[in-house]
């Protein structure tokens, strides 16, 4: 990495009050109000959850999709530190920041969704844990990863506070933390797929397969890169900075490689299991399956050619499509293609939607505040002078 010279990260600066942060504030206030009701009067007071659908969008979107969106940090760290691609180093901090918020809020989302949330400590209490449970694996792994990410991100805060000594001390242990930060997401992102495997025949055959752990892991990795594309383009546009095309273009190629492997596994699995006819049945599930496949295949067309990968519009669109595809796969497995029998029915209430929107607003607001005030993004003037 020594041969890669990058501009040091610096705060972007500027005002914290604008139309975006104010909108986020409103959404967060709405969420807080709903959560007060939720914690005082229980889940039934604000959600449409029932015995047939004990998990709603707070789990399927906030946790399962939210944590997959938060895989940018892990995907980029893997590229930089495991495969030693130092040229991507400037992407690490912003990606890590987005991941940090994604995961921390996913953890909060779990608490919102727990009926008896005051028992949550049992999950970590040696006497009450059930080490054979998939959910236990996910819970502990995600919790640990949140802590690991905060440590990974701590140099940013320490730099800002001017605590050089502390920062150096943390840096010494960082190789271990980064290794942990790569292993942990691989464990729980695949386990999120295992959660569905455990649900057996309740999940539609198009999404129920023993290969789910692999599918969830692979999709989490390319979704991580997709989120970085999205986040980098969005940040550059919003802050009127130069686009980081020199990094995004080659990274997109890596992303496409993983995507190709994923598509082969996804389609191969559906065909081998003989579930393909279900994809041609006149059903909502079949429609969702093809929507999802379209989101996965379109990026190959959009940015398959090297010249097209230089076009930020196409990269941005491909990133969005992959995020959407991965999200649809998760949403279909956990809610749309999920059937417990009987007349059970689920559609999120307005309150549920607002809480989910509020969580994403916290993420956006946090990202804006931290990038404007802490050294996360590379210093722009250095690059311009280059």
């Amino acid at each position: 990495m020594a041969n890669h010279q990058h501009a040091a990260p610096a705060p972007v600066g500027g005002s914290l009050v604008n139309i975006v942060t104010l909108s986020c504030g409103v959404l967060i206030a709405l969420m807080a109000a709903i959560l007060v009701v939720r914690f005082l009067f229980g889940l039934g007071a604000v959600t449409n959850l029932n015995d047939g659908y004990p998990w709603g969008i707070w789990i399927a979107v906030d946790v399962v999709i939210g944590s997959a969106f938060a895989c940018g940090g892990f995907s980029v760290a893997m590229l930089v530190y495991i495969f030693n691609k130092g040229e991507y180093h400037p992407l690490v901090r912003p990606a890590l920041l987005a991941s940090l918020f994604g995961y921390t809020l996913a953890g909060a989302g779990v608490i919102f969704d727990l009926g008896r949330w005051w028992n949550v400590w049992n999950m970590f209490w040696p006497g009450s844990i059930n080490p054979n449970s998939v959910m236990f694996e996910v819970a502990v792994c995600i919790t640990l990863y949140i802590v690991v990410m905060w440590i990974e991100f701590s140099p940013v805060v320490l730099e800002k506070l001017g605590k050089e000594d502390a920062r150096k001390k943390v840096s010494k242990a960082m190789f271990f933390i980064i290794a942990l930060g790569t292993v942990l997401p691989m464990m729980h992102q695949s386990s999120l797929g295992t959660l569905l495997v455990v649900m057996g025949g309740q999940v539609h055959p198009l999404w129920q397969t023993p290969a789910l752990p692999l599918l969830y892991l692979l999709s989490a990795i390319f979704m991580g890169y997709a989120v970085v594309l999205f986040e980098s383009c969005l940040t550059s546009t919003a802050y009127r900075r130069k686009l980081e095309m020199q990094m995004l273009t080659p990274m997109a190629k890596i992303m496409l490689g993983i995507l190709a492997v994923f598509i082969v596994v996804r389609l191969g699995d559906v065909i081998v299991r003989g579930a393909l006819p279900k994809a041609f049945a006149p059903s909502v599930e079949a429609l969702m399956f093809w929507l999802e496949m379209a989101c996965f295949i379109a990026p190959l067309v959009l940015i398959g050619a090297e010249a097209n990968r230089r076009n930020p519009a196409r990269l941005f669109l491909a990133g969005i499509l992959l995020m959407l595809g991965g999200a649809l796969m998760r949403l279909s497995g956990f809610l749309i293609g999920y059937e417990t029998g009987g007349d059970f029915n689920y559609f999120p209430t307005l309150a549920e939607v607002l809480v989910t929107a509020g969580l994403f607003a916290v993420e956006v607001l946090g990202y804006i505040i931290i990038t404007r005030r802490f050294p996360v993004l590379p210093r722009e003037d250095v690059q311009a002078a280059h």
């Binding site: 449409n48 020199q246 076009n311 930020p312 941005f316 559609f347 999120p348």
Partner: protein, 405 residues
């Protein structure tokens, strides 16, 4: 493992022998041994030891005495529908004296008992069925001119183990019930259990009648390990009597949910609700009725399964003493203050507000994405155009682009 491998060695001679002796296929025999081992809660591998012990054909002599009883215990043992259970009872043990089953009669029978006791001194198992009358020196029950008290004392003296089967032999059972007439302080004949008469603890298998498997498992434990199983303070084997019936009851969920049958034949009773309020003694009775099907006729074949409250027949002080429909005393659980709903909500379809909110979020995201993509595309086009204009020259843009690549 060695023992298990031995069991599954089909060429082994003893297995052929046992197939002939018990007239049961090897598979069924091993299943039976495993069932017994599981009933006793023994660790894995014990089924092999059990199988070996039964195979060994060292049938212990068993002397079975009947006193104040209805022979229900013997009947339940013999009427077990498992095709080979009676066969096993008669073949695993050498039943040398059993007043109901033996062919001999009168003095001949008593002689057989004395001969068996002499031949197997210190090695035979004594099983007592029925309570023992103690009033007036026990004159209310005599066999061959001998009172029950004398007979049980004589037989117990040289026995390797004494097992009291049924509630009557365990503590007196139904015959010991004190009638509700003024001045009565004992049953008319002063019925007592075996332990009381012998003045020492014995293994008891209470129940009216007890599950035959509990008795059989106790005997097989004795055969396998040369000692009787661990018992509680009332002499009941812990493997069968350590849990309340209530704890594992098939109707327990109804109890926890507050769904009770209030009278026989009411809608709750017809739907299989909890029988607690009809006087079920499951919450204060220790036995494995709720986990071990009775009489091999399948599960549910026990009082609670049939819709009648448990009367607590295995529990001294409950069975035959408390009125059948008196509400039980809760030993370890009190019903919760709050109950879940009986009718479960099935969830609602999308409301106008929530559907609109989802649509708004999706629309806003899509709109923003399209606008941003368009702007990125426009800036890219502009950049490309500028690059084309600078091409050939040493424009600043081109050098930046190169450095970037």
């Amino acid at each position: 493992m060695g023992e298990i491998d031995g069991i599954f060695d089909t060429s082994r001679k003893t297995l052929e022998e046992i197939e002939q002796r018990l007239e049961m296929p090897r598979r069924e025999f091993l299943q039976f041994c495993a069932t017994l081992a599981v009933t006793m809660g023994l660790p894995s591998g014990a089924e092999a030891a059990v199988a070996k012990a039964i195979e060994a054909a060292k049938r212990p002599s068993v002397i079975w005495l009947h006193f104040q009883e209805c022979t229900g215990c013997s009947e339940s043992l013999l009427r077990a529908e498992h095709p080979t259970l009676e066969k096993l009872i008669l073949d695993v043990i050498s039943l040398d004296y059993h007043e109901t089953l033996m062919a001999a009669a009168g003095h001949q029978a008593e002689a057989a008992r004395k001969a068996a006791m002499k031949a197997n001194k210190g090695k035979y198992v004594l099983v007592v069925e029925g309570a023992i009358p103690t009033k007036n020196n026990g004159i209310y029950c005599k066999i061959g001119g001998q009172t029950a008290i004398d007979m049980v004392k004589e037989c117990a003296a040289d026995a390797a183990a004494v097992i009291a089967i049924g509630s009557c032999a365990s503590w007196g059972g139904m015959p010991s019930t004190i009638p509700s007439i003024s001045g009565a302080d004992s049953s008319p004949t002063g019925s007592a259990g075996v332990a009381e008469v012998l003045g020492k603890p014995v293994v008891t298998i209470p129940g009216c009648p007890p599950n035959p498997y509990n008795f059989l498992a106790t005997v097989v434990h004795f055969l396998t390990f040369g000692k009787l199983p661990e018992v509680d303070k009332l002499g009941r084997p812990k493997f069968a009597y350590s849990r309340l019936i209530h704890e594992n009851c098939e109707r327990r969920a109804h109890f926890d949910a507050g769904r009770f049958a209030m009278q026989f034949g009411d809608p709750g009773h017809r739907q299989g609700y909890c029988l607690y309020k009809l006087g079920c003694k499951g919450p204060e009775t220790y036995a494995n009725c709720s986990t071990l099907g009775f009489g091999d006729a399948g599960e549910n074949n026990w009082p609670v399964g049939c819709g009648h409250p448990c009367i607590g027949c295995t529990e001294k002080g409950v069975g035959f003493q408390k009125p059948i429909h008196q509400v039980a005393k809760m030993l370890n659980v009190t019903p919760p203050l709050q109950y879940p709903r009986i009718v479960e909500e099935q969830g609602k379809a999308a409301s106008f507000a929530s559907a609109a909110a989802v649509a708004a979020v999706a629309g806003a995201a899509a709109g923003a994405a399209i606008m941003l993509t368009r702007n990125l595309g426009l800036s890219h086009a502009a950049e490309e155009a500028e690059r084309a204009k600078d091409a050939g020259g040493s424009g600043k843009r081109a050098s930046v682009a190169k450095a970037g690549e």
